[in-house]
Amino acid sequence: MARHEIRYSEFNCAPDASFPNGQKVKRPILPIRLVNGGNRLTCYAIVDSGADHCTFPLSFALELGLDPLTRPASEIAGVGSGAVPTFYWTIGIEVPTIATLEIYAGFTSGLEGVGLGLLGQSGFFDRAKVEFDHRSDLFVIEI
């Protein structure tokens, strides 16, 4: 297995009651390409050990030519919201210079607000060894 060291990316969070000066947060982000036949979309995804499945914003499915009206919906849950409908298809994921995977991925309106995908346990962590080394500003993927 090849070992890939990747630096965390930083995002700004606005000031609020608990963090009056705002905060910078580090997230383990990868640029990836979603593939469905001849349709492709390049986006970012968080390597998210807390996600059960690989999941993406629903609008990504539409861009890939996938029609949620043709699929039954399942429900997934996250912090602060009830379960949201999620539609699943088998798609390709290309992680440039690392791997190309075929996964059963969910697409949900629940991720529209953040515009990022989640690389979760089923489909990603079950195929890759992942180490998080926040103090060194690195995460490592072996696949």
């Binding site: 890939h4 930083e10 997230r27 390049t42 986006c43 861009e63 992680v95 953040v114 989640l118």
Partner: protein, 66 residues
């Protein structure tokens, strides 16, 4: 393999919250943005960026807990 974007706060400077952004394939800059993803892609392609990286400036500037 290394994402070029280390600081998304800096990359997204000047882009309205909630906007879809089309980022250059080398991750060096935001090529275009729009309220709709398709529009951001279309604008980027008009500017010569055939396969932009799509992202969104979060609607809520809060921390994530998925």
């Amino acid at each position: 393999m290394e994402p070029a974007v280390r600081d998304f706060g800096k990359l997204f400077e000047g882009v309205p919250r909630g906007a879809w952004v089309a980022i250059a394939h080398d991750e060096s800059r935001v090529v275009a943005y729009a309220a709709e993803m398709k529009e951001a892609i279309r604008k980027a392609q008009e500017l010569g960026e055939e396969s932009p990286i799509i992202a969104r400036v979060p609607q809520s500037p809060a921390a994530f807990a998925f």
